[in-house]
């Protein structure tokens, strides 16, 4: 059995007037994967999602979603996608239940069927007790869960989540991660954007690291770290009198710290303590944030 390619993008560029929001991007998404687009604000993540969901159109390049053309087969493509937009765009005039019912009509779902689905979805996201509350009265985490429920009303093949957990507390964030993992278990294909490296690391099979409209690198999160910088990171706080040249590994000077990324932590540590006795440092596994700083010289979050 071959896994199907669900989305293919070749040399996609998107200009807003003369500003290049996406600059010659290539990517693909396979059936059943969780693919992450990781990048700071303004990297072009939302723009890319708009192109996939046919709510904006590319300036050049080729983009196929479910093998269909995003400019010609908008209705067919949109019927197969569930979108969790970056901003919660509910109808504030409606209750939780009404929001879902009204949304089901946009997909042409019959009332009886919609009622059944709404009940199941409210159970899935844990909002069954909030059915008749006004959406404006929900907490931030509940709002996000409701938006996820709404994105599933058409039983989509592909679910796209634009910064699903931005601004949420850790507990709500974990709940949403669980939901995303459940959806994957049910065979859904998932795209998410984030500027949280833990999120990308934990959930994604593959990530595309983006900055300023470009894809800098892509692959499996762990493999990317191994390939580019090494699995262990030594973070040094007082660096004035440290002679680091002798130490093997990638050295990055960033703000008031020095980061040494290496696959051989033992050797690096021995040399470090030889060089300077009262050096202050911590040792930890390398993460995607380190990789991002290494590749761009910038932090993911401002």
């Amino acid at each position: 059995m071959t896994t199907q390619i669900i989305i293919e993008g070749f040399n996609i560029s998107k200009n807003y007037d003369s500003f290049k929001a996406l600059d010659n991007i290539n990517f693909f998404v396979k059936e059943g994967e969780i693919v992450g687009f990781l990048g700071p604000n303004g990297a072009g993540k939302t723009t890319l999602i708009k192109l996939i969901t046919c709510t904006s159109f590319k300036t050049s390049g080729k983009l196929k979603v479910f093998g269909l053309d995003t400019e010609k087969d908008q209705k067919k493509i949109k019927a197969l996608i569930g979108l969790v937009p970056q901003d919660n765009n509910f109808d504030p005039d409606f209750t939780v239940y009404e929001n879902l019912l009204v949304f089901s009509r946009y997909f042409g779902i019959k009332r009886d069927e919609a009622e059944k689905r709404i009940q199941n979805l409210l159970n899935f996201v844990g909002l069954q007790n909030k059915r008749d509350e006004k959406v404006t009265d929900l907490s931030g985490g509940m709002k996000r869960k409701l938006i996820i429920a709404r994105s599933l009303i058409n039983d989509p093949e592909l679910i796209i989540l634009d910064e699903p957990t931005t601004g949420l507390d850790p507990q709500a964030r974990r709940k949403i991660w669980e939901m995303i993992e459940d959806l994957k278990k049910n065979g859904k294909t998932i795209i998410l954007t984030t500027h949280y490296m833990e999120e990308a690391e934990k959930l994604c099979d593959r990530i595309y690291i983006m900055d300023a409209g470009k894809i800098i690198t892509w692959g499996n999160p762990k493999e990317l770290i191994i390939k580019h910088i090494g699995t262990e990171t030594i973070e040094i706080y007082n660096c004035e009198d440290v002679k680091l040249n002798e130490i093997k590994g990638k050295k990055i000077f960033f703000k008031d710290r020095i980061y040494i990324h290496t696959d051989n932590k033992k050797e690096a540590l021995e040399m470090l303590t030889d060089i300077c006795e009262n050096i202050k440092f911590t040792v930890r596994p390398t993460n995607l944030e380190d990789l991002f700083i290494y590749l761009t010289g910038k932090e993911l979050k401002e």
Partner: protein
Amino acid sequence: MIILTGWIPVWKRNRDVFKKLFWVNFFLPLLEPIFYLITFGFGLGNFVRDINGMPYKKFIIPAIVAMATLSSSFFYTTYSSFVKMIFQKTFDAIIATPVSIEEVVMGEIMWGATRGIISGFMVLIFLIFLGLVPLKNLFFYLLIISILSFTFSSLGMLFTSIVSTIESFNYPIFLYYTPMIFFSGTFFPITNFPDFIVYISKIIFPLTYSMISLRALEYNLNLKIILEGIYPFFHGIIFFILSIKLMKKKLIK
């Protein structure tokens, strides 16, 4: 991309909100025509001579029906649609579903028109009840109400597609809508003005035709009246097409 029925879920969404807020949205504004009637009909009407043989109380009836119809449709597709588009991002949510932007705009205009028809109809029933509109004119009045509702719902959407902030609605409202309310032969006959003014008024304010048509209806229904009554519908079609085009440009970047 318009599929003939694609706008209906959008229309239904608006209907559902309307039902929830029936009292504030709808019943309270219906008091306004009563104030017009008291002020101009029963108040001022006692001091004003007949106009071309028509008692002033009767003269202003078409205007009262039109006021209710216009404000209900026009102010829906201006302020309400704008708030939904810019602040609530409702349109963004809908266009990520199989409903297209054209269908969203069409659903909005159709709902604005429906509101206008409901308001106009309620006022009409009230006026028939008071004996100020003969029952036999019910259907022609309804035709005019429907046309005005569609035309001004579309015009409102056209303005919404042009303005960039909610405050800038003041331009079309004070430079177009308000003058139209007063200078379309609503509360006084414009035929007393020089011909070129009448001519300009007829071109830029399609409401002028509706007023002429409904007043002539007091005497008898003929083809000229029907044509004059239908005339604003063509403005409506132009506003409708333009507003869909401009709205698409505004929302799909």
